[in-house]
């Protein structure tokens, strides 16, 4: 069953090697990335975000990644936690 983002949630801290992820309800997948290394790693961050959303069966959500030099697995961990904090079953209010 598809999971639904029912509220806005954050995860991660404004610290070196970390990132802050904000996820909120939307009608499609919208990904915004703020990172000093966006020109180099922007595509790779976007790909990881899409993979995690897919793994978690999220079809609609707005994800903002504010990156402070996080490694790929850190971004994945923070996003997965943000999803857990924001989601509910489709028939839930």
């Amino acid at each position: 069953m598809d999971e639904k983002i029912i509220k806005k949630a954050n995860c991660g801290q404004n610290e070196k090697a970390d990132c802050q992820i904000t996820i909120s309800p939307a009608n499609s997948i919208i990904i915004e990335i703020q990172s000093k290394v966006k020109s180099l790693f922007g595509k790779s961050i976007e790909r990881s975000v899409k993979e995690i959303l897919e793994d978690n069966k999220i079809q609609n959500a707005k994800v903002i990644v504010n990156d402070f030099g996080a490694l790929d697995w850190v971004i994945r961990a923070r996003l997965e936690c943000a999803i857990q904090r924001a989601k509910g079953r489709k028939n839930e209010k």
Binding site: C11, G12, A17, D18, L71, V74, A77, R78, C81
Partner: protein
Amino acid sequence: MKNKLRRNRLYMPGNSPNLLKNISVFSADTIILDLEDAVAQFEKDAARFLVKYTLQNVDFGDSEKGVRINPFDTPFGKSDAEMAVKNGAEIIFLPKAENAEQVKALEKIIGNKEVWISPIIETAKGVLNANAIAAASQKVVMLCFGAEDFTRDIGAERTKEGNELFWARSMIVMTAKANEIQASDTVFSDVNDNDGLEAETRFAKSLGFDGKGIIHPNQIKIINKIYEPTYDEIEYAKKVMDALDTAKKQGKGTASLGKKMIDKPVAERAKRILELAKIYKK
């Protein structure tokens, strides 16, 4: 490995990516990704996800992969343990261990996977039930002592001399050795006091502890130095092994060195010292 060398166990806060990404360079005997005291209540879920990805992605080098879960009487303990077992932890540290049931609950989650248990004894009840805790499962390989919570529990002040800890420390060592497992002393938390760390580690070693908890990688070297066998110890151990070898070749049931008979504990200690010497030679 059940009887792995565990001279130092280094706690790393489970919700700090900047520290977790560098784990392999520390060369700690055991790294403990901490989900308990180092993590704020409202970040317990975030830390669990981060520790999961750390276990999956970070190179631990030769360090044993450890996780300290939250106690089972919190809403986090069970999920922490399930995550750790599923993602390749090699040893789980069980805080506030007070009875055999807690150990058995963790053993049940581990199932038949090769994941060891190290209960942390840090209350009066825990000290008095140490034997039941150690004997609760074949998975238990080490008892740890936690002095901060222990002094709070018994209503004593924590001092540098540590008189208030003496009986508990001895009890934990006795219990561990009677159950043929390791004992690890409490964390030394003043990272600026290396002399204090050295003195406390020497004392812990003299009581029979196999290692000690630490919170900073700079403390590793100091502890390892204290556990390094001396030249005399190595030479004596070699003589013991030679004597055992000679006796075996001659078909004798017992061996002796000079006028002293070599009994089992002496032989085992010699073997352990030579193993240690090899590790330090690396």
